[in-house]
Amino acid sequence: MPGIVSRLRRAVGGDSDTTADTTGTDARPDGGTVTEGTRRERRGPIERVGQSLDDRFGGDFVESLPFWLPPFLLMGLFVYGAIVWNLLISLTDYQGFAQAPDYGNLDFEMYVRAATDSGVIDATINTFILIVAFTSATLVIGLALAILIDRGIRFENTFRTIYLLPMSLSFVVTAQFWLWMYNFNNGVVNIALGTFGIGPIDWIGNSSIVLWAVIFALVWQFSGYAMVVYLAGLRAIPSEHYEAAKVDGASTLRMYRRVIIPQLKGATISASVVLMVFALKAFDFLYSLVSNFRPPNGADILATKMVREAYSNQNWAFGAAIAIILFAMALSIIGPYLVYQYRRGNL
C-alpha cells in the first residue's frame, strides 16, 4: 500500500526522478519512502504537505489515511455531529411541523422549562432510581451467584449457562413475558404469591410498585451477565490467596469480604458501567411493556419522556433538551470510567 501511495504521489507531484526513488526504496525495504533526504529537493506540493503531516502526526499518517478516514468521518458526522446538532436544536424554540428551527435566537429556555416540569423531574428521579437500584441489585446477585459457582459445585457449566441465558433474550421478549407473569388476574407471580395468601398485587397498575417490578425483571435478565464478569475476576485470583487467608485465621465470610471481594474492584467497575448503560437503555423494555411511548404511571424515565415530547407532542426543542440531559447523565457515568481506564494504561 505505501508503494502505491508513493507512486501516486510521484505521479501527482511530477517527480520524474525514478533513480533516486529506486535507491530510496532499496534503502528502506519496509517501503517507507517518506523521509528520504536524497529526494528533498525534487518533491511536488502534495508530497510536501504529506511530509509536514507525517512530521506532525507520525510516520504513517498519510499512508494510513484510506483506512481510518472513512469511519472517522462517518462516526464524526452521524454520532458526534448529531449530538452537536441536537444540542443546537435544544437551544431553539422549535416545535410543531410549521417552520424550520430558528438558529438565530438561541437560549436555555427549554432547560429552564425541563427543570420546572414535574414530568421531567419525576422521569429524572425514576431514571436515577432505575440506574442505582438495578445496577447494585444486579451486581450483588451476580457476585453471589459467581461465588457459589466458583466453589467448585457440580454441573457448574450447566448452571452458568442457565444463569446467562436470560441475557441473550431481547428486551422485547423479556418485557412480554414479565408482562404476562405480572398479570393481575392470572399472572404466575400473583398465583404463586396467592398460595401464601399474599396479593393479588397490581404490579403494573400500581404507580408506586411498577418501577420496582420493572427493576426486578431487568435484574433477572442481567444478573447472569454480572455473574460471568465476576466469575472471570474470581478465576484470576490465585487459590493461594484463599488458602493464605484461611491459614491466617479468617472465616470463609471474612475471607471473601476482606481478601477476595476487594480484588474484584476491576470487575465491579466494568460490570457496573455496562449495567448502567443498559439501565439507560431501558426504553426498549418499557416501550415493549405497553407498546407505546407512555409507560405505566410511575415508570416514566427520561428516554420515554424524551421520545414522547418529540414525536407525540412535536416539542422538538424540548425533547432535544431532555436528550441532552440524558446524554449528560450517560457521560457522567462513562467519563470517569474512561479516565480510570486511561490512567491504568488500558486505553
Binding site: 493461594e240 488458602e243 493464605a244 487467608a245 484461611k246 491459614v247 491466617d248 485465621g249 480484588q263 474492584k265
Partner: protein, 382 residues
Amino acid sequence: MADLELDSLTKIFHDGDDEIVAVDDVSVSIDDGEFVVVVGPSGCGKSTTLRMVAGLESVTSGTIRLDGESIEDVKSQNRDIAMVFQSYALYPHMTVRGNMAFGLEESTDLPDDEIQRRVEETAELLDIPELLDRKPTELSGGQQQRVALGRAIVRDPAVFLMDEPLSNLDAKLRAQMRTELQRLQEDLGVTTVYVTHDQTEAMTMGDRIAILDGGRLQQVATPLKCYHEPANRFVAGFLGEPAMNFFDVEHRDGTLVAAAFEYPISDDVAADLGSTRELVLGIRPEAVEIGGSVTDEHHFGMTVDVVEPMGDENTVYLTFGDEATETNTLVATTGGMRQISAGQSVVAHIPEDAIHVFDRTSGRALHNRRVKSEDVAEIGPE
C-alpha cells in the same frame, strides 16, 4: 511453640475410579523449636504433607498432633499455624502493613495499637520498615519474600510451614535468604516445617531432613547422617551434587564384579553384605582420589572423558575403557587449581572406607562408608 507429630499420615486422591496415593504412611515427630526440612523430587508428596498440616488438604488416614492434641479435624483457621507460600500469596489490594496485620486481626482479639506495634517490630526484625506503606506490586521479589515471611512471623504461631519459599528468588538472593531464614528461625525458636526440592537448602538449613519419594518416607535424620549414612540408594543418589556414582555389581567371594571392573572387599565389608549377591556399589565423587600410581586393586587406570571446571573444583568424568558408556563412567571431583584435561590417562583410587553398598532389589543400604570417630560425634544419634 509446640511439638508436631505426624503419625501414619496418608493421603489418597481420587481421580474418577483411580486412587492416587500422594502420601503413604508418613510418620515424623518434630520437637519444639526444631527446623525440619522435607525434601524430595517433584510429585513426592512433600507439599501435600505440608498442606495437610496446614489444614488445606483433608487427611485420608493417620493423625497430626500438635502438642499432643490431634488437629486433623480442626479447621485451618483455628490451627495456630502460619504458612509461607511459594508464590508468597500477598494480598495485592492491601499495603504491606495491611498484609502483615491481617493474620493478627483475624486470629486474635488484640487491640489495634498492639497489632500495629507487633507489625512494626516484625518489620524492624526483617529490615523492611520503609516498605510498610507500599503495595506488594511495588516490591521486588526479594522484598515480597520478606513480607511473606513477616506475615508469618508476626503471628507468632505454634508452627511455621514453608512451601518452597525461596524458589522464586535468584541464586544469589536465595543463598542470602537461606542464611537469614536460619538465623531468624534460631532466634524465634518456632517449630518449622520447610518443604523444598532443593537439596542444598535441605542440607544447609535443617536440623533434620525428611526425605520423601513416591509418598513414602525414605529417611529422617540430620543432614550429615543422611549424606554419609543414607538409608537406601534413593537417599544416597538424591543428596549430593554431583550425585553419587552407582555401579551394578555382583558379589563373588570377596570381590564386587562390575561390568567394567572388579573391586575386592575386606571381610568386614563382606560381613555387612551377608548372602546378598545382587548389589550396587556407590562412591561419592569427592571420595574418589585422582593421581598417584596403581599400588593396589583399589586403584584403576582410567581415561579422562570430560572436564567441567567449576572454579573451586573440577568435575571430571572418567571412563574405565576408551568408550564412555553408562556402566563404565566414574564421576570425580578434584581441586579447581589442578590441571587436568580430556583424553589424559590418570589413576583413580576408590578407597574402601568410602564405599557404600546397596541391595539392588530393595535399594536398602547394606554397608555405608566409615566415618572417622570425630565426625561420628558430630553426626550424632538419629
